[in-house]
Symmetry: C2
Subunit: 237 residues, 2 copies
């Protein structure tokens, strides 16, 4: 257990708390079958996620004005549906598929771990998702957040420091009283640079067979856990 404890813990969400890949593949495969639309849904999901960082980087670098993640996801989806030659999807289908990011499921330790942590800490997602996406996701997956720190509150995507420091400002805390918790070393590096405490656990199956990194902590994060339940244990809950 670290000698100092945070007041608030904010969580990276996609991959760290929810299993976006398995959730989306199951969701879209079932929807495709129901609608009679054939596609390589796993490949589409992987390509969709691969478009995630480049799409946000265009906003972060000022090449595109502030755009919510839902809209970035939709633009990527439209492009990929064309690239993959998927036929038979109407406008309502595309809306439904895009909102698949609102219907992700937690890893099995997520809800029990967060429920324990909530008893002693302020908990929330600090995600590149927008508030509405994260709110509906929480209702779908049963994530018991105290507050939702969507990127649209800051009009910045991680790893911009405005996101990490924005949480501290909204909660009237010093950056060092906030802990960033994630399965991604890069996110934690940016959070530490902004003065936050850090906690890591691995999600070796996040990218399925395509995982390339984040199998282990690559720095001396304040806490290195096996999952969110273990994080709660290490934080004395």
């Amino acid at each position: 257990m670290p000698t100092k404890k945070p007041v608030a813990i904010v969580f990276d969400t996609f991959g760290s708390v929810v299993d976006w890949r398995s959730s989306l593949i199951a969701d879209l495969s079932a929807y495709g079958a129901q609608r009679g639309v054939t596609a390589d849904w796993p490949a589409l999901v992987d390509a969709w996620r691969a478009a995630y960082h480049p799409s946000m980087d265009r906003v972060r670098k000022g090449e595109q004005p502030w755009t919510k993640l839902d809209a970035l996801h939709r633009a990527s989806l439209d492009q990929l549906v064309a690239d993959f030659g998927i036929k038979g999807l109407n406008k309502a289908d595309l809306v439904h598929i895009n909102l698949g990011w609102h219907r992700l499921n937690g890893w099995k330790d997520s809800v029990p771990g967060l429920t324990r942590l909530k008893t002693q800490y302020v908990i929330g997602p600090l995600s590149n998702g927008n508030v509405s996406l994260l709110t509906y996701m929480a209702k779908h997956a049963g994530l018991p957040w105290d507050m939702i720190f969507g990127s649209d509150l800051f009009m910045h995507f991680k790893p911009d420091p405005e996101t990490y420091l924005g949480v501290a400002k909204l909660m009237d805390l010093e950056p060092g009283q906030v802990m960033m918790a994630a399965a991604h070393n890069g996110d934690l590096g940016a959070a530490r640079k902004a003065g936050l405490m850090t906690a890591f656990w691995p999600r070796p199956l996040e990218y399925g067979p395509h995982q390339k990194r984040d199998y282990a902590a690559d720095r001396d994060w304040d806490i290195v856990a096996t999952d969110i339940e273990d994080l709660a244990t290490q934080l004395g809950v």
Copy 2:
């Protein structure tokens, strides 16, 4: 039951969901006794609340830059402690007393009613309180919000339209898909003007013996309920 239903319901908080007057009087009386500080705590609480609207109006009219409610409360408290001639409070005492607004309790129907509504609607406070105040209040009182719409997200206090419309924008909803729910007719009037649905229930004991208004709905709000449990019932939950 109204023919149309909202997607999200946002609640006025002070008075409508939490009983600020009884909570603060009990909290401060106990703290004063513990610290050996004598004061007319009920009178202080009433005077403190009386300073609430004038203090926000200074910000709303541009006479003072954006200031979180916690800071407005503190400025009013400092003035009142001097006016009332209360002696023996140190800096830590004043911080503790000011955070009394984070330790308010719900009316008896609030947690059960909100818990029911949460199963079918997005629920959150839309309050002049700041995010940190409302987050700690929710943890203290057990209010099961999905998202916290603090005034600092919009840098506007109600009844400025930016607050009501700000919720719709964050949730990607039309104003008419959002319902403002409050025990205050004035709040609902401003919400309706911004295009929101409206729900009212009375809190005739909010101001204790000093209540002057809001004993009943003064317009044809979309729902008029007896309390938040009845609101849930009328919304089919």
